[in-house]
Amino acid sequence: MKRFLVFLVLILTFVVSAYAFKVIMVTDTGGLGDKSFNDGTWAGIQMAVEEFGLEANVIQSYEQADYIPNLTKAAQEADVVFAVGFMMTDALFKVAPQFPGTYFVGIDITPPEGSEYPNVMTFTFKENEAAFLVGYVAAAMTKSNIVGFIGGIPIPPVERFRYGFEAGVKTYSELHDKDVQILKGYTMVFDDPKKGKDLAMSQFAEGADIIFHASGACGNGVIEAAKEKFTALAGTSDLAGLIDYYWKNGTGLFAMGVDADQDYLAPGAVLASAMKRVDMAAYYGVRDAFEGTFEGGMKVLGLKEKGVGISPMKYTKGLVPNSVIAELYYIINLVNEGILSIPITQEELDSFSVPEIEFPF
């Protein structure tokens, strides 16, 4: 009898596990812990897992050659497979057509021409909209009237950050009659913090007082540079000291983070972050697959879909004047309603003219 019970339980677990809805995420070479795509996607999957009671797993890729075998293995086991990051585009579109019964979700992936499958949903982001907001804040907060932009390699997502940032700075400048100049530079790598720091130091020396970076881990160096300079100026590195200094002297030196909320990396010295809500994309992907509303094709997430945004400025919100915050929310509304469109290409940026915005306050 006992043996029969054990047998029954075993059978039951097999049956249940075979029918449980399973999500497998294949990381890119960055892996979990990158505080960007991979972590963000995983957080979104976890959100869905808790809400719907699913099962989720990760397969880590260590080199690019792992992508195809890992995706294949995941597709054999799971109902939903996640491919994370621009670099996995080719692998995803090689594997997905072979498993029409499995759903695939690609994060930050644009399908190549002519390869649209009903079981593949990909997400990209309107980085320019997030960057527009931080650009607007930067232009409002700069005292030297010079702000900086540091990019990694000028791939499309990095450039979209730049277009939005430039447009944001320009918009604030014209609405408030301020002449703000932008220094721009590129590190040409994503993983050398020292290069980011040196470039940031150069921009600070040329008079920039706020630097926005879209340069991956080089940005750690940018943030460290801001922290070092601001600390030297204020004579203290703790948050209260920095804020006191800012209120007494009306100036500070700041970095601006990217992708995730990087404000905590150097409290007080990171003014705000342009966030890309990879987690929301992952959540939508799992939810649609689970609820049976999955549609193949590319989804572009912007402010309206809460796919991008500005960080809540946990440490520095007190420094930004209320009027600027109010204007920011007004602008978010204008973008959501489609009244204000933010340049997403170099041509659009060149021909971007600041619309007449009448703030109702």
Binding site: L32, K184, L199, G207, N220
Partner: protein, 318 residues
């Protein structure tokens, strides 16, 4: 015209010299390490790996003890360990020095990546852990131009410069230095004169480990206060190029390192120049500057530098 003005502006800007120094510091440490090893006849391309492990170990011990200087000390010990492996394989067992060096680079990359998770709980990169404070020299700081360059710098930069002159004195003015050079030029002759070739070579390689690991520690606890996998970004190899360009001489290597540092600083300053009107799409090209300088200078110097005669040749005693 704006080009000339902006370049002149850069040369008169003290920050250009300061970034040159800090960008050159990791090269200086590693290149000195290369000199110590190769002057005794052992090629050490493991510098890159030794730096990476040094960067990692210094952050780990800063994290554990709260003191970046203990981190630096432990980095030196880790460098000693790596160099000992290299020496053991290539001196004791006459192994191919390039293969052993490459293996050590791979070992350092794998080891640091693997240990991130158990120590810091996540792969990739650490948070800001803590770094060595810059030191202010009060009376120098007030000198107008010079003060802005060296008035407030990371102590490791001064240590690097001090080590350059120490190394030159050690290698060219002491008996030990003479013996090291003799072993690198003609180990058989040195051996017949009663010099223990193996011991001298061990000494050279171990010194190179200590020096190169300081370069790694400078990158992590010196400049950034955090570790990122593969953060050395090929600096160990650039240091090797600097060593060759400097003709295996500490002072020469120092100038070569400054040249590479200056190219990097020039790149940053030109990109940040407010008067140069360059479109953002051409700015990434400036990052080629250090490599262009390297190619021009190295090709100009080819044939004029000479490696120690027994460099890279294992010594087998009959």
């Amino acid at each position: 015209m704006t080009w000339i003005i902006s370049i002149l502006n850069i040369f008169t800007n003290p920050l250009f010299y300061k970034i040159t120094l800090t960008a050159a510091t990791p090269f200086i440490f590693a290149a000195l390490g290369g000199v110590f090893s190769e002057i005794t006849g052992v090629v050490n391309i493991a510098l890159e790996g030794i730096m990476l492990l040094g960067a990692f170990v210094s952050i780990v011990f800063t994290y554990l003890t709260g003191s970046p200087w203990i981190g630096v000390l432990m980095a030196m010990i880790s460098g000693l360990g790596m160099a000992w492996l290299h020496a053991w394989a290539s001196i004791k067992w006459y192994g191919n020095q390039i293969v052993s060096g490459t293996a050590l680079i791979l070992l350092a990359q794998g080891l640091t990546g693997f240990l991130m998770e158990p120590i810091f709980g996540k792969p990739g990169q650490t948070d800001f852990i803590g770094r060595i404070k810059d030191i202010k020299i009060p009376f120098v700081k007030n000198i107008p131009f010079v003060g802005e360059i060296i008035g407030e710098l990371n102590p490791l930069v001064f240590i690097a410069i001090g080590l350059v002159f120490f190394s030159w004195w050690f290698l060219y003015k002491t008996t030990m230095g003479l013996r090291m050079r003799a072993v690198g030029e003609n180990p058989e002759a040195a051996d017949t004169l009663g010099i223990n070739v193996y011991k001298i070579r061990y000494f050279g390689v171990l010194m190179s480990g200590i020096l190169a690991s300081l370069g790694g520690a400078f990158l992590s606890v010196g400049e950034l206060g955090q570790f990122k996998e593969l953060m050395t970004g090929g600096r160990g190899f650039i240091a090797l190029a600097a060593m060759i360009l400097g003709n295996w001489n500490p002072i020469g290597a120092f100038w070569a390192c400054l040249l590479f540092g200056a190219a990097e600083a020039m790149n940053n300053q030109l990109q940040s120049s407010p008067i140069l009107q360059i479109s953002a799409s051409t700015k990434p090209l400036f990052n080629m500057l250090p490599f262009i300088v390297t190619i021009i200078v190295v090709s100009g110097f080819i044939g004029r530098t000479r490696a120690p005669a027994a460099d890279g040749v294992p010594y087998i005693k009959d």
